[in-house]
């Protein structure tokens, strides 16, 4: 959902976007992942050789994806769930205690939107405004309260990085 919201936000910003989920058998706590590409020019391949940014929500994902980030890129770590750090010195690391922040908001399921808020603030891949618009669009059918909570989480992540 985090990647999907980001892709929709990129699209609303007038960029070219692709969203590629890994749809194979993945378990909760495993390494379910998706790849989002956002570009001004046409996107040649939705498969990323070495993404500029990686977001990991748990420890298995850190081990699996830490080495694909391109040199000079950024790694967002959910520090509530991941207690190790990569040894690479050529990437910037952003720590976001997403689960703890979600608990403060009173809903443990908001971690992904908190992370996304932090992500768009640091990377500028989409503005907060269009990301909120994407949340509105995607969660609308689930009701006002869901939209409101997700927007609040987005803002919380955004502010945490401020």
């Amino acid at each position: 959902m985090m990647g999907y919201v980001l892709a929709v936000a990129g699209m609303r910003d007038g960029k070219n976007v692709t969203y590629l989920p890994a749809y194979g058998a993945e378990v909760r706590g495993g390494t379910a992942n998706c790849t989002v590409a956002i570009a001004d020019e046409e996107i040649a391949s939705p498969v990323a050789s070495s993404p500029e940014f990686v977001v990991v929500m748990n420890k298995p994902s850190l081990s699996r994806f830490q080495n694909v980030i391109q040199s000079g890129g950024g790694l967002f770590i959910n520090s509530s769930m991941v207690d190790t750090r990569p040894v690479r010195g050529d990437i910037e690391i952003f720590e976001v205690p997403a689960n703890d922040l979600a608990k403060d908001l009173g809903n443990g399921r908001l971690t992904n939107m908190i992370m996304l808020g932090a992500f768009v603030r640091k990377t500028g891949m989409a503005s907060l405004g269009t990301t909120e618009q994407a949340v509105q669009e995607i969660f609308e059918e689930k009701g006002k309260s869901i939209v409101k909570q997700n927007k609040r989480a987005l803002k919380a992540g955004y502010d945490y990085m401020g």
Partner: protein
């Protein structure tokens, strides 16, 4: 929108009123979408059939009645439909068949693969026939080619296959639906079985016991196939202008190749791509033309080497052909493919 949903929406907009299918990953979102959307369409019919065989035979019936009809599946299910695809071809019935293919043979896995190239382009069923095979490489093309598939099927009275894969079916990209062609000349369906009230009865059959009749029917189909080859072949060139080497790839593999070529070009490697959009008819002429200038070809497929046969047949020895394939549902990154391109390029001293 998600690729699988886009096929469904494009089909509805192209006037598809009948869908029958049986679930299989990675195309289930299409079946689901058709269930929801066809219920909103006046006279729309959605049937979750009891098997793949039942589904394609229901499509056959709908087609006989003059309805734009579609079924979809993935590799193992498409195998089951082959008998009826042969019958559709023999009886000259339009139908659109979508294969969102996966790793094989057998049940294989649910990851993206291009291992159904032979099955799609060689007919797959028994008898002397061809299917039009369209190979989209983006969500936008899924929309455009699905609409085109219905037009081609009606125009030539022949089944049309859309060959995608799990990656295309699952990925999301922005999409714009073209307005379906203005119904300028409605396809004449003076052959459909709609009840012989007030007119002589019509017969659609594939059993032609008299060999002279069957032979003439075969030649008739061949003449139709020649018209299709002449008029409907589609191919995309990518950065061939100054190239000394061309990668030939289709569908998802072509998408990865584009990324790989852009990377290779950053290192001043002069490489371009030929992308067949119709796998049958295969763009043999275009490849022959290009072989007057470019002599080195690298075929890249997500299988162990199937389209490469058509490339070799097209070239008739005029050019050197190499192959890189990843079967089993592995999706190599553009970086990997760019390394293969570079090693080939330097080994052959092309730059």
């Amino acid at each position: 929108m998600r690729g699988n949903h886009v096929i469904g929406e494009a089909a509805i907009r192209a006037g598809c009123h009948f869908y029958a299918g049986y679930p299989i990953t990675p195309q289930n979102e299409l079946t689901e979408y058709m269930a929801a959307r066809l219920s909103e369409v006046k006279d729309g019919v959605f049937i979750q059939a009891e098997s793949e065989l039942a589904a394609i035979n229901m499509v056959m019936g709908a087609s006989m009645a003059g309805t734009r009809a579609m079924t979809s599946s993935s590799g193992p299910g498409i195998s089951l439909k082959q008998e009826s695809i042969s019958f559709l071809s023999a009886m000259e019935l339009p139908a659109v068949i979508v294969n969102i293919s996966r790793g094989g043979p057998g049940l294989g896995n649910i990851a993206p693969s291009q291992s159904d190239y032979f099955q799609a382009t060689r007919g797959g069923g028994h008898g002397d026939y061809r299917n039009i095979v369209l190979a989209p490489n983006s969500v936008q093309e899924l929309a455009d080619l699905t609409m085109r598939a219905f037009d081609l099927a009606d125009k030539y009275r022949t089944p049309v296959l859309i060959l995608g894969d799990g990656m295309l079916g699952q990925m999301m990209e922005p999409v714009e639906f073209l307005d379906p062609k203005k119904p300028g000349k409605p396809v004449s369906k003076e052959w459909t079985l709609t009840g012989a009230n007030g007119r002589p009865s019509r017969i659609i059959r594939s059993l032609l016991l008299d060999p002279t009749v069957e032979e003439e029917h075969n030649w008739k189909l061949v003449r139709k196939y020649e018209r299709i080859i002449h008029k409907e072949t589609l191919v995309e060139d990518f950065l061939l202008g100054d190239s000394t080497m061309a990668v030939i790839a289709f569908g998802t593999a072509a998408r990865i190749t584009k990324g790989a070529i852009l990377r290779a070009r950053e290192q001043n490697i002069k490489v371009g791509m030929i992308r067949p959009i119709t796998l049958w008819p295969f763009p043999s002429k275009a490849i022959q033309e290009i072989s007057k200038i470019i002599k080195h070809f690298l075929v890249f497929e997500l299988n162990t080497g199937q389209m490469i046969d058509d490339v070799r047949l097209s070239l008739e020895g005029r050019g050197e052909v190499h192959f890189y394939g990843r079967p089993g549902g592995i999706i190599p990154t553009p970086l990997e493919v760019s390394r293969v391109i570079a090693s080939q390029y330097y080994q052959k001293r092309l730059g």
